[in-house]
Symmetry: C2
């Protein structure tokens, strides 16, 4: 038995994990151990700091409910979600595919289906009504008829339907399909910026870092067509005051938009409109189309 | 707004945390971000792997109860607890202080008090009765009268009292005091090796790594005397089959012992005995005596 010094502990931990049957798990955990131990050595982590970390992670886990995924939120504010996103995006992506953004914790499967031109707002809660229209194509610009476009966003209260009291009722989300020319057209309201949930451990953590905790106003979008990589993205409002300091690092230049009247092909002239064309990358051989984030019900604890 | 590539995300995350008022929190989180992102880049972490990690950490947090700290267990099997321990030990430690070991999740404050020679076993559950005796001194060998020695261990069922059905009832733990010459003497049973809890997410994780999940038999010991650094250690049984592969990396050569009859100063000759002298280091100026681990009630969720 070796006496374990500060480097020896790492060697011993790696040795104990060396027989992991799954080679990818072995690789990931070996890297995780090295970086975790390097981190602890670099900052000379003290027992009370270690304990504070244990208490924090415990609180994050305990804050998860069927309607709230606090660990995804933590990953988001640490920039990890965006990093995984960026790497996934870069890998084998066709040059012209639309950039992706974070799925976030508020996506829900089976949102209501709408016809072209309809609004996803069930009731008028204020806010500026806008149009979102454009075309879904492949990376070379070939139109994709029948593609499904899921959109979801906060209403003028700054909350998602999942955060409202009646979480069973869906609002401000919907599914549209492209027409024979790959075109789509929908109405919604201009999304306002909002704070991440600040009443849990991650919110407290962000406050202790003097961060505003705000996301610039955005519309979440998921586009799917058979044979193409699922596109998870979002469109960000150019005039939001936090457009340059999204607390979850979701904004990309190519995803910043501004609703305006008088656009050439706008289906209506009485409302400000955003034109955005989505370009899907083909699935690579063997790829099933991983998604950064998922239906929260798959990873959340069951309702008590 | 910069477009974030795989390095840019890290820079942006560090920039958003740069105004953290607490300098130590700023330092720790900056290092954590760098190592976390380096890890993700090194293994090219995929969305589904990221999600599996989120689900795992969520399950670990949800497994914590007032009587179970699954995140400490995770830290233990990753070698992090031992590493923090080793670093704390090395820092300003006087040459001759006894080596430390992990506190573990089963320590409880206010264990029953015993007189010298009494047994911590409330009832006979089998197992080999043994004696533990010795002296508590400072690092130079000066005896410390009135030092408090807390010991706790599994009984012959391989469970701690906290793991038994009636968790309110304390057993196989107790507090002793040294006499005027710093001597102590207690009876217990030879501890058997045991498995970490395998019915939770950390147990499943260890099984997927083909690890046995066993700890060699050991007696936990906490020694306290005013003005000295609290000593958290354990004594490990030399003949345990897993003495060289403790799943939480707690064993040090200097802490391996073997009960035997016929020791020179043994207070009784009819039972096998372990003689162990504990040497305490003085508290450094300003040091309050951090403990690796703590009373679980301080960091566990409140009972529902």
């Amino acid at each position: 038995m070796p006496d374990l010094d500060r480097m020896g502990v790492t060697a011993e931990a790696l040795a104990q994990m060396a027989n992991t049957p799954d080679p990818r798990m072995r690789e990931i955990m070996a890297a995780a151990i090295r970086h975790l131990h390097d981190f602890a050595r670099e900052v000379d982590l003290k027992p009370d700091e270690w304990l504070a970390g244990i208490a924090f992670l415990t609180a994050v886990g305990q804050a998860c409910t069927p309607f709230r995924q606090e660990f995804i939120l933590l990953s988001d504010v640490l920039g990890l979600s965006r990093l995984v996103n960026v790497m996934h995006d870069a890998e084998g992506r066709e040059a012209a595919g639309t950039e992706t953004s974070l799925l976030g914790p508020f996506f829900r499967e089976k949102a209501p289906e709408f016809q072209a031109g309809e609004s996803i707002a069930a009731t008028d809660k204020g806010g500026e009504e806008i149009i979102l229209f454009g075309q879904v194509t492949d990376a070379e610009g070939k139109p994709l008829p029948g593609a499904e476009i899921d959109i979801w966003q906060v209403d003028a209260t700054g909350l998602y339907d999942l955060q409202a009291n009646d979480a069973e009722h869906m609002d401000m989300r919907g599914r549209f399909r492209t027409d024979a020319a790959g075109r789509f057209h929908m109405r919604t309201v201009k999304p306002m910026g909002y704070s991440i949930p600040m009443d849990g451990p991650v919110g407290q953590f962000v406050q202790r870092q003097n961060r505003h905790g705000m996301r610039p106003g955005h519309i979440h979008i998921l586009v799917q067509a058979p044979g193409y990589r699922e596109l998870v993205t979002a469109l960000y409002m150019a005039d939001d005051r936090n457009i340059d300091s999204d607390t979850v690092f979701g904004v990309s230049q190519s995803l910043v938009v501004m609703p305006e009247k008088g656009l050439p092909d706008a289906p209506r002239s009485d409302l400000p409109a955003i034109r955005y064309d989505f370009r899907l990358s083909r699935l690579a051989a063997g790829e099933t189309g991983g998604r950064v984030g998922a239906d929260p019900s798959q990873i959340l604890p069951a309702a008590q």
